[in-house]
């Protein structure tokens, strides 16, 4: 293994000040949301594994800020519940995505809209067109205001396993939320473009 990489490797390796990584929840990647080396698995689905599983798939929840190992946090404070990277609770439904499309609205009419659909599950598939009725489509009320020509959305089809073990087919639309350009930002960009143009003219 190349020198210098081992410090960002998996749990249990020697930690150094520069041991930073962007791996999610990696125990070697950041001090604050890292659990203690004694962290244990609760409710392990594979009991043969024992009790000292070192992954953040699900771990003991620290009970005080001291568990976050951040010297900046007052150790006397307590809170409940504490953070963990992967929130996969047996009380939550679990979505199994079987098909994902990204749609672009091409027209809005009374009672619905039409869209071009790109298959994100199998990107090599050709684009398709589809029509959606507001009455028959699972769109949150907050998203209705986002529907206009050019807006984009995800159409997710899959199965959802409820906490009780029931399996439901689900189909939902989630409109993409991208921030609008503000007057200030447009103005700043215009000024930047103006300066750039002047520098080109000076060079010429």
């Amino acid at each position: 293994m190349p020198q210098g990489l081992s410090t960002t490797f998996s749990v249990g390796q020697e930690r150094t000040a520069d041991a930073q990584s962007a791996i999610s929840g990696s125990a070697d990647s950041g001090p604050i949301f890292e659990f203690s080396s004694e962290s244990s698995v609760d409710g392990n689905a594979n009991p043969q594994l024992g009790s000292t599983f070192s992954s953040l798939q699900i771990t003991k929840e620290p009970g005080s800020v001291a568990d976050y190992r951040d010297p900046m946090i007052p150790t006397s404070a307590t809170f409940q519940p504490a953070a963990r990277m992967l929130k996969i609770s047996s009380r939550e439904p679990k979505l199994k995505t079987r098909q994902l499309w990204e749609g672009t609205v091409i027209g809005v009419r009374n009672g619905g809209f039409a869209a071009v659909l790109r298959d994100r599950t199998n990107p090599s598939n050709p684009d398709e067109q589809g029509s959606f009725n507001f009455e028959d489509t699972e769109i949150s009320a907050d998203d209705l205001g986002l529907i206009h020509p050019g807006s984009t959305f995800y159409w997710i089809i899959g199965t959802e396993v409820t906490p009780a073990g029931q399996v439901k087919n689900v189909s939902m639309l989630q409109f993409r939320r991208v921030p609008a350009w503000t007057e200030l930002r447009l103005q700043r960009n215009a000024e930047s473009a103006h300066r750039l143009r002047e520098s080109f003219q000076e060079e010429a």
């Binding site: 950041g30 689905a45 594979n46 594994l49 599983f53 809170f79 996969i88």
Partner: protein
């Protein structure tokens, strides 16, 4: 052999840098129209102190410290919208100093039986040398493979394999595409990579995992 669909999957996006956790509250995301108001209103705030912000919405878990910004999709949600949330956030907070970004995917696969479950571990980590010296039945608890990616410079791909803590006789995979920030315009550079790679990273992760699972389940 057809591709397996994970029983549980999710995505996580991590940025390293310097952050002000106090900013990151559900209402701020709603005000910036990055989250639906109803989702922000229903958010469950876990911690909100100057050094840490941690809350959960219907679809996301958001954890921000002074050095780390992490958003994870919940098991009940598809990770695709996570990209918009992060790009939108740092489109607004355009001067945030960042040093690295990780695109992460997490998958739990059911192997169907204890025997098949053991086969995966035995294929990935043959037990012959261990059986010669250890008592009992040695098992694979965690394996991480790291490789350097060709582009951009300094980027890495790593994949972790572990027994699933969520799925009975399941295998857990976690992939990480790690990108150090470019020297020039680090935030813009990383957001560009995010825009281009988020979906492809997921497709690549699924391809790698299915390759390993197919390999491990054949010719045993």
């Amino acid at each position: 052999m057809s591709d397996l669909i994970p029983e549980i999957s999710g995505g996580a996006l991590v940025l390293l840098g310097s952050f002000n956790p106090k900013i990151f509250q559900p209402e701020w995301f709603a005000r910036q129209q990055l989250l639906p108001q109803a989702e922000a209103d229903a958010a469950e705030i876990k911690i909100l102190i100057p050094q840490v912000s941690h809350f959960e919405t219907e679809r996301f878990v958001i954890q921000v410290t002074t050095e780390r910004f992490a958003v994870t999709s919940k098991a009940s949600a598809n990770p695709a919208p996570l990209r918009d949330l992060v790009q939108g956030t740092f489109f607004i907070l355009e001067h945030t100093p960042v040093t690295a970004m990780g695109l992460n995917y997490l998958m739990h696969f059911a192997m169907g039986s204890e025997e098949k479950w053991h086969e995966i571990g035995d294929r990935l980590a043959p037990k012959e040398p261990w059986n010669q010296i250890l008592e009992g039945r040695p098992g694979l608890l965690s394996m991480t493979i790291l490789t350097q990616m060709n582009e951009p410079k300094g980027s890495q791909f790593r994949i972790k394999v572990e027994p699933s803590a969520q799925v009975q006789f399941g295998v857990y995979f976690e992939t990480n595409e790690h990108y150090p920030a470019p020297e020039n315009e680090p935030l813009r550079g990383l957001m560009g990579i995010l825009g281009e790679r988020w979906e492809d990273a997921q497709i690549y992760a699924a391809r790698v995992v299915n390759h390993i699972l197919s390999w491990a389940r054949t010719d045993c």
